[in-house]
């Protein structure tokens, strides 16, 4: 199941993220070559391990339901601003390749 073209492409995008990188589910799907598959990215993250799940957020900045505290702690440790369960793009986000950076 994790060696489907979708899973391999999504894993490659996820594993290319470093500290300070944040993407939305939809951005991961699009960069993996599967635009519109945001929910499938969410399912992939919920059912696999070893990928930096905490660097992926909803388009609204909302964190992963049920994992907000852990995700906020991990993001803050990487210099990302988190407020009220939401990543805050207080500074003008800029793109590094297709990735938003929130500082």
């Amino acid at each position: 199941m994790n060696d489907t073209p979708f899973a391999l492409a999504v894993a490659e995008v996820l594993d290319g993220l470093g500290p300070g990188d944040v993407m939305t589910y939809g951005e991961v799907a699009a960069e993996a070559g599967f635009p519109g598959a945001a929910r499938a990215v969410g399912t992939f993250l919920r059912t696999t391990s070893g990928h930096p799940w905490w660097r992926i957020i909803a388009a609204s900045g909302r964190l992963a339901p049920g994992h907000e505290q852990d995700q906020a702690r991990r993001l803050r440790a990487e210099g990302i601003m988190v407020d009220n369960g939401r990543v805050r793009p207080d500074a003008e986000p800029h793109r590094r390749s297709a990735r938003h950076r929130y500082r």
């Binding site: 519109g36 945001a38 929910r39 909803a58 388009a59 609204s60 909302r62 339901p65 407020d83 805050r88």
Partner: protein, 172 residues
């Protein structure tokens, strides 16, 4: 014998109606199966965001939903998040919503009766695609940190006698 008058207890609640704008036309042009698929994604999104903020989905209403929360800022945040996230969930129709709050009667434990419910429903009907409309009274309470309220002026709302000053709630 004099009729027995019962005291009716009111509770302060915040209400939102949110629906898929243009769902009927979408069903006509794209067919029932695609319409149901969009509706399923809409409901999944509403469920997920509402649950993450402890907001209750009070009723499903065909192509929409009624949400109830104890506090207004949480409800506003939930609604604007749903509208913002819809495109990523492949919800091909724009959403629109109406929000209002006030004291209402809680009937038989799960139904809310009162002006705030009616106003939220009417404002959803009045809202344009991607709009979240609310009476300007909502700015009397702290707004969520990510939300701005833009005054759009007084508007006559169907079923309500005097024009109401309305705001558009937008994610910052």
């Amino acid at each position: 014998m004099a009729e027995r008058v019962r005291t009716v207890k009111r509770v302060d609640r915040a209400f939102a109606f949110i629906d898929l704008s243009g769902f009927t036309a979408f069903t006509d042009t794209r067919g029932d199966a695609e319409a149901v698929a969009v509706l399923a994604r809409f409901r999944a999104l509403v469920r997920e965001v509402a649950a993450s903020r402890a907001v209750r989905v009070s009723k499903w209403l065909g192509d929409g939903a009624m949400l109830v929360a104890i506090d207004l800022p949480t409800l506003i945040e939930t609604v604007t998040d749903i509208v913002t996230e819809a495109p990523e969930w492949r919800i091909e129709l724009p959403l629109r919503a109406g929000v209002a709050h006030g004291a209402v009667i809680l009937m038989e434990g799960d139904d809310h009766i009162g002006g705030a419910v009616n106003l939220a429903a009417r404002l959803c009907d009045e809202a344009q695609p991607n709009e979240v409309l609310a009476p300007s009274a909502v700015t009397g309470e702290p707004l969520p940190a990510n939300t701005t309220a833009r005054v759009v002026g007084h508007r006559k709302v169907r079923g309500i006698t005097t024009p109401i000053e309305l705001v558009l709630l937008e994610a910052a």
